[in-house]
C-alpha cells in the first residue's frame, strides 16, 4: 500500500517529476478547461487568436517597415515581423495567464493537494492552440510571398519546445511570487512592454552592435526568435554565440525555476 510520510521539509528540493507524471490526467483536464472557458461567450471565439498578431503586423509593417524603414534582413517586412509576433504573442499571453494561474485557483490550492506546478504549466500549454492557429496563417503568408522553407524547418519543433520552456520557466518565478506579492500583477504589463522592445521582433538582431550582442543575448527570447526565423525563413543567424548564450540562459532559468517554485509552493496554502 502507498505510504506517505508527512513532515516539515527544510532542504531545497526540485519539483518531483514522477509526481507530475502521476497527475498527468489532471494536467490534461486543466488544459482542456482553460481552452473551453477561454472562448465561451465570445462572438469571435478562436478568431481572436488570429486577429491580435495580424493587426500588430499590419501596424508594424506600416510604421516601422514603410515609414521608418527599419531593415529586415532582406525578408519582406510583413513576414519578418509576423514570425516574430506570433511567437512573441504566444510568450506574452501565456505568461500573463500563467502568472495569475495560482491566484486564480486560490480556492483549489487551499482545499486539495496536487502539484501546484500544474497550474502554470497548463496555462502555458493551453495557449499553444492559439499559437498553432496563428501559425497556419503564417503558412498562407509564406505561400503568398512564395517563400519556400529551407531544410532548417526540421528544427522547428525544437524551437517551439524552447519557446514553451521559456514561457514556462519565467512563469515559475512570477506565478509563485504573485502568491506572496500581488505587486507582480502590476509589474507585468510594464515588464512585457519593455521585454517586447528588448526582443528582435520589429527589428533584426543585425542592427545590434557587435560588442553588445552577448549582453543582448541575456534575453532568452532573442534565441527563440532568432531560431524561429532561421527555421522558417532560412534567415542567417547573426551571431551563433549570442544565440547559444540565449538558449543557455533559458536552461539556467528553467532549472532555477523548478527549485524556486518548489520551495515557494510549500506555503502557498498558508499565504495565498
Amino acid at each position: 500500500m502507498e505510504k506517505i510520510i508527512i513532515k516539515p521539509k527544510n532542504r531545497w528540493q526540485a519539483v518531483n517529476l514522477k509526481e507530475i507524471y502521476e497527475y498527468r490526467e489532471l494536467l490534461f483536464f486543466l488544459i482542456w478547461k482553460d481552452i473551453k472557458v477561454k472562448y465561451k461567450q465570445t462572438i469571435f471565439g478562436i478568431g481572436w487568436a488570429i486577429l491580435q498578431p495580424l493587426f500588430m503586423m499590419i501596424i508594424f509593417t506600416l510604421f516601422f517597415g514603410k515609414f521608418a524603414k527599419i531593415p529586415s534582413d532582406n525578408i519582406p517586412y510583413p513576414i519578418f515581423s509576423y514570425t516574430g509576433l506570433i511567437i512573441w504573442t504566444y510568450f506574452a499571453n501565456s505568461l500573463l495567464f500563467a502568472v495569475e494561474s495560482i491566484v486564480r485557483h486560490q480556492n483549489v490550492v487551499t482545499k486539495i493537494y496536487f502539484p501546484k506546478i500544474l497550474l502554470p504549466l497548463s496555462s502555458i500549454l493551453s495557449h499553444l492552440l492559439d499559437f498553432l492557429i496563428s501559425f497556419f496563417v503564417l503558412i498562407f503568408f509564406l505561400l503568398f510571398y512564395k517563400i519556400s522553407p529551407t531544410g532548417n524547418i526540421i528544427y522547428l519543433p525544437i524551437f517551439i519546445l524552447i519557446s514553451i520552456l521559456t514561457a514556462f520557466s519565467v512563469s515559475l518565478y512570477l506565478s509563485a511570487l504573485n502568491v506572496y506579492y500581488r505587486d507582480v500583477r502590476y509589474i507585468m504589463n510594464f515588464l512585457i512592454q519593455v521585454w517586447f522592445f528588448l526582443t528582435p521582433i520589429t527589428y533584426p538582431t543585425s542592427i545590434i552592435p557587435e560588442k553588445f550582442r552577448l549582453i543582448y543575448g541575456l534575453n532568452p527570447m532573442v534565441g527563440v526568435i532568432e531560431g524561429f526565423r532561421w527555421c522558417i525563413l532560412g534567415k542567417e543567424i547573426t551571431s551563433i554565440k549570442m544565440m547559444y548564450f540565449s538558449i543557455f540562459i533559458i536552461f539556467i532559468l528553467f532549472i532555477g525555476g523548478i527549485y524556486f517554485f518548489k520551495n515557494m509552493e510549500r506555503s502557498f496554502a498558508d499565504v495565498i
Binding site: M1, E2, I4, I6, T110
Partner: protein
C-alpha cells in the same frame, strides 16, 4: 488491525498575519524594519504536539470550537499545508473533502464539471467514466447535464457537487464540515451515503459541529482545544462532555463582550451583544410569547456592504432557527454602520436554554453558487432561557426536550 494513520507530535505554527490576505512589497519592507521589535507574540500554534493513531476502517469524529485546529489537522494530513514540527505516516490513498465543488467553473456544463471536479479530487478518468451515471442519478439532474452550471439554482449546484464527492472512494477520506449545505433531505441522503462508505471498511476522519451527526457516524472522537488534544474516546461520551463544557464555559449573562483572543486576527468582527426584552430591560430569562431584542456592536473596518445571520440552537446543539438579513429581508448594511438591532419572536420555544450564534458575511450573495464569504462567526454569542411556557389552560409547563421544542397550538374535541 493495521494502523493507517499515525500522527506523532504534529505541530503547525502560523505567523500572525500569514492567514490574512496577501501583502504588498511595501508592507513587507515596513514589516522587515518592524520585525526586530516583536518577538514571540508573532506566532500562533494552530496545532501543538498532537499525537494519535487510527486503525483501518475506523470512523473518527473531530470536534472542538472554532480555531481549535480541526481544519489545520485535515489540511496537514491531506498535504495541503506542511507541518512545522512532528510527523505523520499515512498508508493508502488520501482524499480530502474540505469543500464541495472545488474547481467548479460556472461557464462549464454539469457534465464537464463532473469530470473536472472528479479529476481535482484525484479520481482517474476511467473511474469517473464508470461512475458517471451513478453520480448523475444521485444528484437527480439528468435534464440539466449539458447546461452551464452558472444557470443552476444553488440547490442543484450543491447536489451535483456533493454527488461527485460522495462517489469519490479513496482509502482514507478526510471530510470537513461539508454537510452543512444543501436541503435537509439531501443532507440525509449524503449522511446515508457516508454511512454506507464507512460500512465498506474505509477509514474516515470527519470534522463537524453537528454532534448528532458525529454520534450517528463515528465510534471515536478526538476533541481539540486550542491546537491540543483535550480528549480522545468513545463518541457518545466525549460529545456529551463537550456539550456540557460548552454551556458551562459560556454561562449566562445579558451582556457579552468578546475577548481579545477571539478577535485578534480579524479585520471586521462582532464585539458586543446585549439581550433585551420589548420594554428595554436587560435580561436573559423570557416567557415563550415574549419578543427578544439583540443589540449588536461591530468593530473594525470593511470596504463592502455586509449582512448578518443569527442562529438559535437548543441544548443539544440542534439549530432550530436561522434568520438572515440578506436572504430573508434583502438587507445589506453599509460599512459605516456599526450598530445593529435584531428583533425576533415571540419565540414560542419551550422551557430550556438556547444559544445564539452570530455570523457576519460580506459581499453579494451568489444564489447561483451558494457561495458566501464569512468574515466572522461568533458561535456562542449569547445565551437566553425560556423560563415560562404555559400556553394552554392548565399550569402545565412545557419543557425542552420532554415536551418538544416549539409550542404548536392544539385543541381536543369530542367528535
Amino acid at each position: 488491525m493495521e494502523t493507517v494513520i499515525k500522527v506523532e507530535k504534529l505541530s503547525k505554527k502560523y505567523r500572525i498575519g500569514e492567514r490574512l490576505p496577501y501583502k504588498t512589497i511595501r508592507e513587507e519592507i515596513i514589516n522587515f524594519f518592524k520585525r526586530k521589535k516583536k518577538k514571540n507574540d508573532q506566532f500562533i500554534w494552530a496545532l501543538k504536539d498532537v499525537s494519535f493513531e487510527i486503525k483501518k476502517g475506523e470512523v473518527i469524529g473531530i470536534i472542538g470550537p472554532n480555531g481549535a485546529g480541526k481544519t489545520t489537522l485535515l489540511k496537514i494530513l491531506s498535504r495541503i499545508t506542511e507541518p512545522t514540527d512532528g510527523y505523520a505516516e499515512v498508508y493508502g490513498r488520501v482524499g480530502s473533502l474540505l469543500e464541495v465543488g472545488i474547481g467548479f467553473h460556472p461557464e462549464l456544463t454539469g457534465r464537464e464539471n463532473i469530470y473536472l471536479n472528479g479529476a481535482m479530487l484525484g479520481m482517474k478518468k476511467k473511474e469517473i467514466d464508470k461512475k458517471f451515471d451513478e453520480i448523475v442519478e444521485f444528484a437527480e439532474m439528468e435534464k440539466f447535464l449539458d447546461t452551464p452550471v452558472k444557470y443552476y439554482s444553488s440547490g442543484m449546484y450543491v447536489r451535483l457537487a456533493f454527488s461527485v464527492a460522495a462517489h469519490f472512494e479513496p482509502d482514507i477520506l478526510l471530510v470537513d464540515e461539508v454537510l452543512a449545505v444543501g436541503d435537509i433531505s439531501f443532507q440525509k441522503k449524503c449522511l446515508g451515503k457516508m454511512d454506507s462508505i464507512t460500512k465498506e471498511g474505509r477509514t474516515v476522519l470527519f470534522v463537524s459541529h453537528n454532534m448528532s451527526a458525529i454520534r450517528a457516524l463515528c465510534e471515536k472522537v478526538i476533541w481539540l482545544e486550542k491546537g491540543k488534544i483535550e480528549k480522545i474516546g468513545r463518541s457518545d461520551e466525549i460529545t456529551r462532555e463537550y456539550e456540557e463544557k460548552f454551556i458551562q464555559k459560556y454561562g449566562i449573562s445579558p451582556v457579552r463582550i468578546r475577548n481579545d483572543q477571539e478577535i485578534k486576527y480579524k479585520k471586521f468582527y462582532f464585539k458586543k451583544v446585549e439581550i433585551y426584552d420589548e420594554n428595554g430591560n436587560l435580561k436573559t430569562g423570557f416567557k415563550f410569547d415574549e419578543k427578544i431584542i439583540l443589540h449588536i456592536e461591530l468593530e473594525g473596518e470593511i470596504e463592502e456592504k455586509y449582512h448578518i445571520v443569527f442562529r438559535i440552537y437548543d441544548k443539544n446543539n440542534i439549530m432550530i432557527f436561522s434568520g438572515a438579513s440578506a436572504e430573508l429581508h434583502n438587507k445589506n448594511f453599509d460599512p459605516k454602520i456599526k450598530k445593529i438591532k435584531i428583533e425576533f419572536g415571540p419565540t414560542n420555544l419551550t422551557i430550556g436554554s438556547y444559544r445564539i450564534e452570530l455570523i457576519l458575511r460580506k459581499g453579494k450573495i451568489q444564489f447561483a453558487t451558494g457561495e458566501r464569504i464569512e468574515i466572522d462567526i461568533w458561535e456562542n454569542a449569547i445565551n437566553f432561557e425560556i423560563t415560562d411556557c404555559k400556553p394552554f389552560e392548565t399550569n402545565w409547563q412545557l419543557q425542552n426536550p420532554r415536551d418538544g421544542i416549539f409550542v404548536i397550538k392544539n385543541k381536543f374535541y369530542n367528535n
